[in-house]
Amino acid sequence: SQQGEEDPQALSIQEGENATMNCSYKTSINNLQWYRQNSGRGLVHLILIRSNEREKHSGRLRVTLDTSKKSSSLLITASRAADTASYFCATGTSGYSTLTFGKGTMLLVSP
């Protein structure tokens, strides 16, 4: 069953603009992760934010987490054509089999 739901499903922007993707989830989590998938490739981990954190940065990435609203956002600043990919959120809870992926946001960055 899908826990995380990304919004929007697709996003098209110009190089240099910022891209914001959102993820909503339904049950309590202990962490939320974002992954990137380039076309025809495997998923690559971008960032993990724990339930007791509100914001995290990694290079041009900024992730926020609002546990009261059960939502997270991924901001990519100064987007580049190379950022074109699908982005997935994954929610983690305790236990072994509880990392659940959303359906993803397809980001297209045009030169």
Binding site: N30, L43, Y96, L99, F101
Partner: protein
């Protein structure tokens, strides 16, 4: 540094045929996972392993079997392939339970069942 390697990358089967997908990781990770990715469905967990000699069912295990005889390898088998198993299969590994830490993915194996 290879990371997670999947073989084969592409395969076409006829309905009823069997095959095995191999996943190998060189990071000494305890935990390994098999997912399938279908258009509009995200990733769904098929089976996973928390260590050598162990396996467990995930969200969509029917029609698949797995084995983890060596720590570095995790095999996914289809005994009698069906068109519904046409998908892209991803193996992943981690050094923490998947609810706790990041996963390292292979490049995927694209399977078509005719």
């Amino acid at each position: 540094n290879a990371g997670v390697t999947q073989t084969p990358k592409f395969r076409v089967l006829k309905t009823g045929q069997s095959m095995t997908l191999l996943c190998a990781q060189d990071m000494n990770h305890e935990y390994m996972y098999w997912y399938r990715q279908d258009p509009g469905m995200g990733l769904r967990l098929i089976h996973y392993s928390v260590g050598e000699g162990t396996t467990a069912k995930g969200e969509v295990p029917d029609g698949y079997n797995v084995s983890r005889l060596k720590k570095q390898n995790f095999l996914l088998g289809l005994e009698s392939a069906a068109p519904s198993q046409t998908s892209v299969y991803f193996c992943a590994s981690s050094n923490l339970p998947q609810g706790s830490g990041e996963l390292f993915f292979g490049e995927g194996s694209r399977l078509t069942v005719l």
